[in-house]
Amino acid sequence: MKFHYILALVLMTGIVSILFMLNVGTRHEEIIVGAWKEIKWTYEGAEDKEDTLLRAEALKSLRSIIGQDFLIHENETWIFTPEGQLITSTKPTENDMRLRWLLKGRGNILVIKNGDIPIESYNITKLNDEILVLSFNVEIGAKGVAELTFERIRL
C-alpha cells in the first residue's frame, strides 16, 4: 500500500510540475509576434576562414544564391502578425499577403506557407524578447547550415 501512495505522489508531482511550467514559461507563439529586422547572416561552412574582404564578398554572393530559393532578401524586415500572417515588405504585394507563419514541433520549427502550401521551414535556434535566430540547411556545392539573426524593432 505504501508503494501506491509513493506512485500517486510521483504522478501528482509530475502533473503539477507540468502545469506550473506551462504557466510560468513563455510560449514561442506569443514571443515571435512583432517586427524583426535582420542584422546578421552567417554560413557555418565559411566560419573558419580568415575575415577578409574576399570572404565578405564570397558570403554576399553565397547569400544571394541561397536567397533565390528562400524568402531572405537584402536587410529584410519580417513582421509576424498575431493572426498568423507574415509580412516581409513595407509595401506588401498581393503575393506577400498570402504568406502565413506557423510554429510546429514544440515551437522550435517555423513553417512559412504560401496559402496552404508550405514553402519553407526554419529551426528556431534562439528566441527571446530581443533576438530571433533562425537556422536552415542549405546545399550549395557542400552542405552547411545558414543562420539568420533578427533583432526586434518597434514600428
Partner: protein, 266 residues
C-alpha cells in the same frame, strides 16, 4: 497474436504481432514527423531534447516535452494495469483493450486533423501528445505479452540486439542456436516493417493527408480481429457438429484460448 501470454507464445505469434504493430508505429512516427515536425515514438530523442530545453531555461518547452514523455510512460502504465488485472480471467479482452484505446487515440487525431485542425502550436502539441500516449499503449502491450521480446515503437534496443546477435553469429555454436536465430529473425522483421510503415506513411500522406491515421487504425483492427476470428472459429467447432480441427491447426494449446472460448460458449 493477442490471445497468448508470455512464454506460451511461439516465434510465429511474436513475428505476426511484431510485424503489424511495427508497421503501425513506423506509420505513426513518420506521419507525426511530416505533419507536426515531432517524433511520436522514439522517446530517447525526447529525453535529449528535454535536457537541452532545461539547459536553455525554456520552461514552456520543458513542460511540453516532459508531458510527451510522461504520456508515453502513462500509455505503458495503462496497458499493463489492464493486463495485470484482467489477464487471467479475460485474456483476449485484456490484450485487446490497449489496442482499442490506441485506435481511439489515433482515430481522434485523424478526425481532428481532417476537420478541425487550424495548425496552432497548442493543437500540434496536444495531437503529438495523443500519438505518444497511443505509442506507449502499444509498446507496453507488445512488450508485456511477449515477455519483452517484441518492442515495436523504437529501434534503439532492436538495433543493439541485431549488432550483438550478428557478432555472436560469427561463431558456429551461436549460428546453430535456434533460439538466437529466431530472435534475430523477429528483430529483423520488426525493423524492416517499421521502415516499410514509415516509407508507406510518407508516400501516402501526400495523397490522403490526415487520413493516414485511419490507415494505421485499419492495420490495428487487423491485429484485433485476427485473434477474434480464431476464437470464434474455435468456439464454433467446440459446439461439436462434425469435424474438429487438430489443436496444432488453430494453436489452441494454451489455457488462455480455451478459457476465452469457454467463456464465449457460455
Amino acid at each position: 497474436m493477442l490471445r497468448k501470454y508470455s512464454n506460451s507464445r511461439s516465434l510465429a505469434d511474436n513475428i505476426r504481432l511484431g510485424v503489424l504493430t511495427a508497421f503501425s508505429a513506423g506509420m505513426v512516427n513518420i506521419a507525426t514527423l511530416i505533419i507536426f515536425f515531432a517524433f511520436s515514438s522514439n522517446v530517447t530523442g525526447h529525453y535529449a531534447i528535454l535536457a537541452e530545453e532545461i539547459a536553455k531555461g525554456n520552461w514552456y518547452q520543458v513542460a511540453v516535452v516532459f508531458s510527451w514523455i510522461f504520456l508515453f510512460y502513462f500509455g505503458n502504465f495503462t496497458s499493463n494495469i489492464i493486463i495485470i488485472n484482467y489477464n487471467k480471467t479475460h485474456t483476449y479482452l485484456a490484450h485487446s483493450v490497449p489496442i482499442i484505446l490506441e485506435i481511439l487515440c489515433l482515430f481522434t487525431v485523424g478526425m481532428y486533423g481532417s476537420y478541425y485542425y487550424n495548425e496552432t502550436l497548442q493543437e500540434t502539441e496536444v495531437l503529438v501528445a495523443l500519438c505518444l500516449y497511443a505509442m506507449g499503449l502499444q509498446n507496453g502491450l507488445t512488450a508485456s505479452i511477449s515477455n519483452f521480446a517484441v518492442k515495436t515503437t523504437h529501434l534503439t534496443g532492436a538495433t543493439t540486439d541485431l549488432g550483438i546477435l550478428s557478432a555472436m553469429f560469427t561463431r558456429k555454436e551461436y549460428r546453430e542456436n535456434e533460439q538466437l536465430r529466431g530472435k534475430f529473425k523477429l528483430i529483423a522483421y520488426i525493423a524492416l516493417f517499421y521502415m516499410i510503415g514509415g516509407v508507406f506513411s510518407g508516400l501516402i500522406y501526400f495523397y490522403i493527408g490526415f487520413n493516414v491515421f485511419f490507415a494505421v487504425c485499419l492495420s490495428l483492427v487487423v491485429v484485433l480481429f485476427y485473434d477474434f476470428s480464431k476464437i470464434k472459429f474455435y468456439a464454433f467447432f467446440k459446439k461439436g457438429d462434425g469435424y474438429m480441427p487438430r489443436e496444432a491447426d488453430i494453436a489452441t494449446s494454451d489455457d488462455a484460448v480455451s478459457m476465452e472460448a469457454k467463456r464465449m460458449k457460455d
